[in-house]
Amino acid sequence: MSFMKEQKRITLFAGHYGSGKTSIAVNFALYLKRKGSQVVIADLDIVNPYFRTKDSANLLEKEKIELISSRFANSNVDLPAMPQETYGIFDRKDKYAVLDIGGDDRGALALGRYVPYIREENNYNMLFVASCYRPLTRNAREAYEVLREIEGACSLKFTGIVNNSNIGRDTASDDILASRDFIRELCELSKLPLHFTCADIRLCPLPGYENEDVLPLVIDERYYDIKEKKEN
């Protein structure tokens, strides 16, 4: 992947609710780490108490990636609190930082208090995670609307787009190919470049994307995924 060339110290992932930000943030942090960088990942999602970065805590610990997450995450306390360690991200400039922002404008509100530090350092990429298979961002215009709402809520501008168009485990590589027009139009509307495309690692190398940046995603199997019936 060549997007490392323009790699900034801080990478923020924001986007529509359920667009896949947390999976991408975790996989992106793993990618940076395996490239040999020191990485810290921060879960700034205070909207969704169910699926969070902390679900991957064991994996992150094994890979020696520091996780900053509300101590109330995955507890039964549904409390929108951010840990004070988050500020440390902006002091320790020797580490790459990956920030997982909550969904939509409501989730992005929580980022606002850190924006002065991000602006001051001015070494960041803020990436909009887009999927044309989510019900409220089916077309580029709807996705663009969400993009602008998020910028308004956190008062930080996006610097690029990430294509995460997928329908979960049933995604075929054709489904990702079919999202090209959607992404092209979104890039035109927002005047932002496409940074990379995401795909389930089982679909990689992704046909039709040989000359483009693709981030392979390792997605945890969940206990409720129905396994194929075994033949004897």
């Binding site: 359920g18 108490p49 049933d170 409720y224 129905i226």
Partner: protein, 355 residues
């Protein structure tokens, strides 16, 4: 390009409700169903619908009561503690024979409990929930696709039988994401000449009321309602039967418990055990016939639940206690694992072998 979209269970309910013609949503936020309200808040203003966050669950259900009286499709949603608050209103709606859709995305209890998934409102949903003699039709989805499909179905059943219908989901069903295809839907043609819509001085006025101080008349209205329930029991019970034909052990499970159990059934079959599953889709009416049929062959039943054992009573009743019914459960927001279910299957298989 696929015509499916990737949805959370909660979003699937909200979108299906809109496509089923529901233009009135009243609710009050509570985890893990908040996405339903959030989705409605975004969508309703764009389609000239009404989204209203009420000051409380009690206010919300009474707004539902009002719109239902006017004959319009209307819904509310909540999670366990919120449903308890709404129960008085649901009883009133049932007492007035009004159609409405109520969604319960259950969480662990009792009391304020937690926010993790649970099925411990089974008694509440299948026995009525509030005061008085009444039932709601209780639908139990086991996939995000079914969250959508049963929402359409729920509105139809509510209109056809003039009864409140409840979707009894759980936190996992509400939060998990799966591909969904919305169906091409045409609402049934139903005459709502009972609705309070203004007489324009052209007809006698309609009255929607659950107060009836004359016991003889109140008894008659109860009898009439139970005639209707009899029809519902005869015609509307639904379930999925999985490998039950030759099964020695039959699992009873709904919703998320059925998904976990299906993996255990497959594993047990691979080990040579004859295990099947009945997944009730309607919890009320309970699909008794399927259990009665299975009881002719099966040696034992296992009820897999995210509760301290509630549906197990209906399973025992359905098989008329002729066969033993065992419980395999977790509670308080915990979910049984396929391994736990498989261990229970093996334990019972060994028991019947040693007899």
């Amino acid at each position: 390009m696929t015509d499916k979209v990737l949805m959370k269970g909660n979003e699937a309910i909200a979108e299906a409700a809109i496509q089923a013609g529901c233009r009135f949503y009243f609710g009050y936020p509570i985890t893990p169903q908040t996405e339903i309200a959030a989705y409605m808040a975004k969508r309703m203003p764009k389609i000239s619908g009404t989204f209203l966050q009420a000051e409380s669950e009690i206010a919300a259900i009474n707004m539902v009561y009002g719109v239902a009286s006017a004959g319009k499709r209307v819904m509310t949603s909540s999670s366990s503690p919120g449903i308890s608050l709404k129960s008085e209103g649901i009883s009133y709606i049932a007492g007035c024979d009004l159609p409405a859709l109520i969604v319960n995305v259950q969480r662990g209890g009792p009391g304020l409990g937690g926010i993790q998934p649970s099925q411990s409102d089974y008694f509440q949903a299948t026995r009525g929930g509030g005061h008085g003699d009444y039932h709601v039709i209780a639908l139990a989805p086991a996939s995000v696709q079914e969250m959508a499909d049963l929402t359409f179905k729920g509105f139809d059943l509510a209109d056809i039988y003039r009864t409140p219908v409840m979707i009894l989901a759980d936190g996992t069903m509400g939060q998990m994401m799966e591909p969904v295809k919305m169906k091409d839907y045409t609402p049934p043609d139903i005459n709502k000449d009972w609705a309070v819509t203004g007489t324009k001085m052209m007809r006698e006025h309609n009255i929607i009321n659950s107060l009836c101080l004359d016991p003889e008349s109140l008894e008659i209205s109860n009898f009439k309602r139970y005639e209707k329930y009899k029809t519902i029991c005869e015609k509307e019970a639904m379930c999925e039967e999985y490998l039950t034909n030759d099964a020695d052990i039959v699992i009873a499970a709904f919703g998320i418990a059925a998904r976990v159990s299906k993996n255990a059934v497959n594993e047990a079959r691979a080990n040579g055990l004859k295990v099947g599953m009945i997944r009730p889709i309607t919890l009320w009416p309970f699909p008794k016939d399927a259990f009665e049929r299975a009881a002719e062959k099966a040696k034992a039943f296992i009820s897999v639940e995210l509760s301290m054992g509630q549906m197990i009573e209906d399973v025992s009743l359905a098989v008329r206690c002729r066969k033993p019914v065992y419980l395999c459960n977790r509670a308080g927001g915990m979910i049984p694992s396929p391994e736990q279910v498989l261990a229970k299957i093996n334990e019972i298989a060994n028991m019947s072998n040693s007899k």
